[in-house]
C-alpha cells in the first residue's frame, strides 16, 4: 500500500469539527504551570532548610580536608636535582599536575562518549 488515502475518508476528516479556541483552557494550563513553578520553589526552599544543619555539621571536616588537600597539591612527586629540569617539569611533577591531567583525561573521555 502506498501513502494514498481514501478520498471519502479524507473529505470526512477535512469536514470534521475542530475544537474551538477557549481562553479558559489557556488560563487553566497557565495556572497549572504557575502552580508547578511555585511547588518547585517551595521544594527548593524546604530542601535548603533541611540541608542547612547538614552543611553546618559537615563544614568543619570539609574545611579541614580542603586545607590538607591545599597543602598537598604543590608537593613535588619526584626530587629532580637539576634546577632547570625541575622548573620545566614543575607543572606535571606535582599532585596538582597529576590531578589536572587526570581531570583532563576524564573530561576528554566523557566528551568522546557523549558526542
Amino acid at each position: 500500500m502506498t501513502n494514498d488515502r481514501d478520498p471519502r475518508l479524507m473529505a470526512l476528516f477535512e469536514s470534521a469539527a475542530v475544537v474551538a479556541e477557549d481562553n479558559e483552557f489557556v488560563t487553566r494550563v497557565m495556572a497549572d504551570i504557575d502552580g508547578a513553578r511555585r511547588r518547585t520553589v517551595i521544594g527548593w526552599i524546604v530542601a535548603g532548610l533541611l540541608l542547612t544543619p547538614l552543611v553546618w555539621w559537615l563544614s568543619g571536616p570539609v574545611t579541614d580536608t580542603l586545607v590538607v588537600v591545599g597543602e598537598l597539591l604543590p608537593d613535588s612527586l619526584f626530587t629532580i636535582e637539576q634546577e632547570m629540569v625541575a622548573e620545566l617539569l614543575a607543572p606535571v611533577n606535582s599532585v596538582a599536575g597529576v590531578a589536572g591531567l587526570l581531570f583532563l583525561g576524564i573530561w576528554r573521555l566523557y566528551r568522546k562518549l557523549t558526542h
Partner: protein, 186 residues
C-alpha cells in the same frame, strides 16, 4: 490571559522567548496551538474531557522541556510528539477492560460537534494503535514513513494498521449511510 503584546509575533520568535523562560510568550503559543492539540487528542480518544486533560499535560510538559528544544522551527512537530506521548502513556496505563468507558456517549457531545461526531465515534471503534496511525495519516497528513518514525511502530505494522483501519472505517461509514438513508426515507 493578557498576551496582547505578542499577538502577531512570529512563532519562531515566541518559541525563542519561551525557551528563555518568557511566560507570556509561551501563553501566546498556547493560545495559538491549543485548538490544534485539543482536536488531535479528541480524534485519538473521542472524549472531550480526557482530550483536554491530555492536551493540558502536553502543554505543561512543553513548558518544562522547551529549553531543551534545539530548533525553534520544529516546535509544532515537537509539541505533537509530546501530545501523542501523553496519549500513549494514558493508553498504557489504562485497564483494557475499561477501554469503552473512555469515550463520550453521543448525548454528551455539544450540538456544535455534530459534524465530527460520526467520524469520532467511528474512530473510537478502532484499536488504539490503529486509530493513532489513521489519525496521523488522515488528520495530520503524515506519510507512513513519518508515522513509523514518529511513533516507533514498525513501517510494515503502520501500513497494515492504516489498511485495516481504512477498511474498518469504510465499513462503519457505509453502515451509517445505510441507516441514515432508511431513516430519511421512512
Amino acid at each position: 490571559m493578557q498576551t496582547d503584546h505578542y499577538t502577531g509575533s512570529a512563532e519562531a520568535l515566541l518559541v525563542g522567548l519561551a525557551r528563555k523562560g518568557d511566560r507570556d510568550a509561551f501563553a501566546e503559543l498556547l493560545r495559538r496551538r491549543q485548538a490544534w492539540v485539543r482536536t488531535l487528542m479528541l480524534r485519538c480518544c473521542n472524549n472531550t474531557t480526557l482530550a483536554d486533560d491530555l492536551a493540558q499535560q502536553a502543554f505543561t510538559q512543553a513548558w518544562q522541556k522547551i529549553p531543551q528544544l534545539r530548533r525553534v522551527s520544529r516546535f509544532a512537530p515537537w509539541l505533537k510528539r509530546l501530545a501523542i506521548n501523553e496519549w500513549l502513556q494514558h493508553v498504557r496505563k489504562r485497564d483494557p477492560l475499561t477501554n469503552a468507558e473512555d469515550t463520550d456517549l453521543p448525548s454528551q457531545r455539544s450540538d456544535s460537534a455534530d459534524v465530527g461526531m460520526d467520524l469520532d465515534q467511528a474512530l473510537a471503534q478502532l484499536k488504539d494503535h490503529v486509530r493513532l496511525c489513521i489519525v496521523l495519516s488522515y488528520h495530520e497528513g503524515m506519510t507512513h514513513d513519518e508515522i513509523a518514525d514518529f511513533t516507533g511502530i514498525a513501517l510494515g505494522t503502520v501500513k497494515s494498521h492504516i489498511r485495516r483501519g481504512t477498511a474498518r472505517l469504510q465499513e462503519i461509514l457505509a453502515a451509517y449511510d445505510q441507516t441514515s438513508t432508511k431513516e430519511n426515507s421512512s
